[in-house]
C-alpha cells in the first residue's frame, strides 16, 4: 500500500461507476490515490458539516493530519441527474437537480478551503452537457487557486473511461501544486527539492541549459 496518497473525492451518482467499484481492492491499494466516493451534493454537505470545524481547528498546525477534507482532487461527474424515482418521503433536496451539480458541488467544496490546493476534473458522457449555462458560469468565476481540467472535454470526445482519467489526476495536481506555490499557499522547502533532485537524478549535471538530461535509473 502506498503511503501518503493524494485524497480524491469522486462525485458520481451512478454507484456502479464509482472508482471503488471499477477496480479490485488489490488494484486500488497500488494506486497513489485514496478515493472517497459520494453520490449527491447532500453527501458533500454532510461531510462539510461534520468535518469543517476540525479542519479549521488544525489550521496553523505543525503536522498535516487531515485524512479526508479538504480533498486534493475532485473527480466530478458534470451532471448528477438521473431517472431514479425518489420516494416522496425520502429525505432529499433539490440540489442534485441543479445544472452541472457534480461540477458545482466540487467547486463549492474546494472554495471552502481556499488555501488548500485543489483541482477539479469534470467529466461527462454527453458533450451537450458542456454547453450548459452553469458549466459556463463556474468556468468563468472559479478562483485561480482551484484548477479545473477543462481539457477533459477532449477526453469525452475520445470516449469516456474512468481509467483514462487517473493519469490526469497526477498531471493536473502537478500543475495545481506549482500554482499554489507561486501564490504562496504552499511551499516546498529548498532542501527538499535539492534532496529529490540529488536522489532521483544523482548523476545529472546542473540544469543550466548544458544539461544533457542524463538521469539513470536509481533502482
Amino acid at each position: 500500500m502506498i503511503q501518503y496518497p493524494l485524497k480524491v473525492l469522486h462525485i458520481e451518482n451512478q454507484e456502479q461507476q464509482h472508482v471503488s467499484n471499477k477496480f479490485k481492492p488489490s488494484q486500488l491499494e497500488e494506486l497513489p490515490f485514496i478515493f472517497t466516493c459520494i453520490r449527491w451534493p447532500e453527501d458533500a454537505e454532510q461531510m462539510l458539516r461534520i468535518q469543517r470545524e476540525d479542519v479549521s481547528a488544525q489550521h496553523g498546525g505543525q503536522e498535516y493530519a487531515l485524512p479526508l477534507l479538504p480533498f486534493d482532487v475532485y473527480l466530478a461527474d458534470l451532471n448528477l441527474r438521473d431517472d431514479t424515482v425518489i420516494p416522496s418521503d425520502f429525505n432529499t433536496t433539490q440540489a442534485r437537480h441543479a445544472e452541472a451539480a457534480g461540477l458545482t458541488t466540487a467547486a463549492l467544496m474546494a472554495c471552502n478551503f481556499m488555501q488548500h490546493p485543489a483541482c477539479i476534473i469534470p467529466y461527462t458522457a454527453y458533450t451537450t452537457e458542456l454547453e450548459a449555462p452553469q458549466y459556463d458560469l463556474v468556468k468563468r468565476l472559479l478562483p485561480d487557486s482551484v484548477l479545473v481540467d477543462w481539457e477533459a472535454e477532449e477526453l469525452i470526445s475520445k470516449g469516456f473511461n474512468i481509467q483514462t482519467l487517473l493519469p490526469r489526476i497526477s498531471s493536473q495536481y502537478r500543475k495545481v501544486i506549482r500554482m499554489a506555490a507561486r501564490a504562496g499557499h504552499v511551499s516546498i522547502p529548498y532542501m527538499e527539492l535539492r534532496r529529490l533532485l540529488q536522489q532521483l537524478c544523482s548523476s545529472q549535471g546542473p540544469s543550466d541549459g548544458t544539461d544533457d538530461g542524463t538521469c539513470h535509473d536509481t533502482n
Partner: protein, 148 residues
C-alpha cells in the same frame, strides 16, 4: 507519452514534503507522476523541470540573505580583530598575560580604545560606531551590540 529520454524509477516510499497552512505534509511522489502505461518510470527531464519550477518561499529567501550577510560580516577584517581582542582579554582574565598584552595594546590603538580601561574593565567598553556589528536577528527594540 512518447519514448523517454532518460527514465528514472520513483521508489514506492518516495515522498515530497510540502509546507501548507495546515502544517507540514508528505505526499507520495508517485501520486504526482502516475501513469499506468509507463509503470513507475518518469522522464527525468520532466521531473527535473517540474522540480526546478518551484521557487523558494519569501521566508527562505530572507533566511538566505541573512545567512549571506552574516557570513560576509564574519569574514571581515574587523570581525577577525574583534575576535583576537576578545580572546586575548579572556586569556588575560585567566592570568595568561604573555603576548596577550601586546595584542590588546595593538588592537586597542587601532580601534581607538583606551588600552588601560579596556584591560581593567573589558565588559564596559564601547566600540566606535564603525567597529560595531548588528545582532544576528535584528529587531527594532534591540540595540546594536556594544560589547566586544
Amino acid at each position: 507519452m512518447g519514448q523517454m529520454t532518460a527514465p528514472v524509477m520513483i521508489p514506492i516510499e518516495e515522498t515530497m514534503a510540502i509546507s501548507t497552512a495546515w502544517g507540514r505534509r508528505k505526499i507520495s511522489l508517485r501520486a504526482f507522476w502516475y501513469d499506468r502505461d509507463q509503470g513507475q518510470q518518469v522522464d527525468s527531464r520532466d521531473l527535473r523541470e517540474w522540480l526546478d519550477g518551484f521557487t523558494p518561499s519569501n521566508d527562505e529567501l530572507l533566511a538566505w540573505q541573512m545567512a549571506l550577510r552574516y557570513f560576509r560580516l564574519r569574514q571581515s577584517e574587523q570581525s577577525w580583530k574583534r575576535y583576537q581582542l576578545s580572546r586575548a582579554l579572556q586569556a588575560m582574565a585567566k592570568g595568561k598575560d604573555g603576548n596577550n598584552i601586546k595584542i590588546v595594546t595593538a588592537i586597542c590603538q587601532e580601534i581607538g580604545l583606551d588600552v588601560q580601561q579596556t584591560m581593567n574593565d573589558p565588559k564596559h567598553i564601547s566600540l566606535p560606531a564603525n567597529w560595531k556589528y548588528p545582532h544576528l536577528i535584528s529587531h527594532p527594540t534591540t540595540k546594536d551590540n556594544d560589547d566586544i
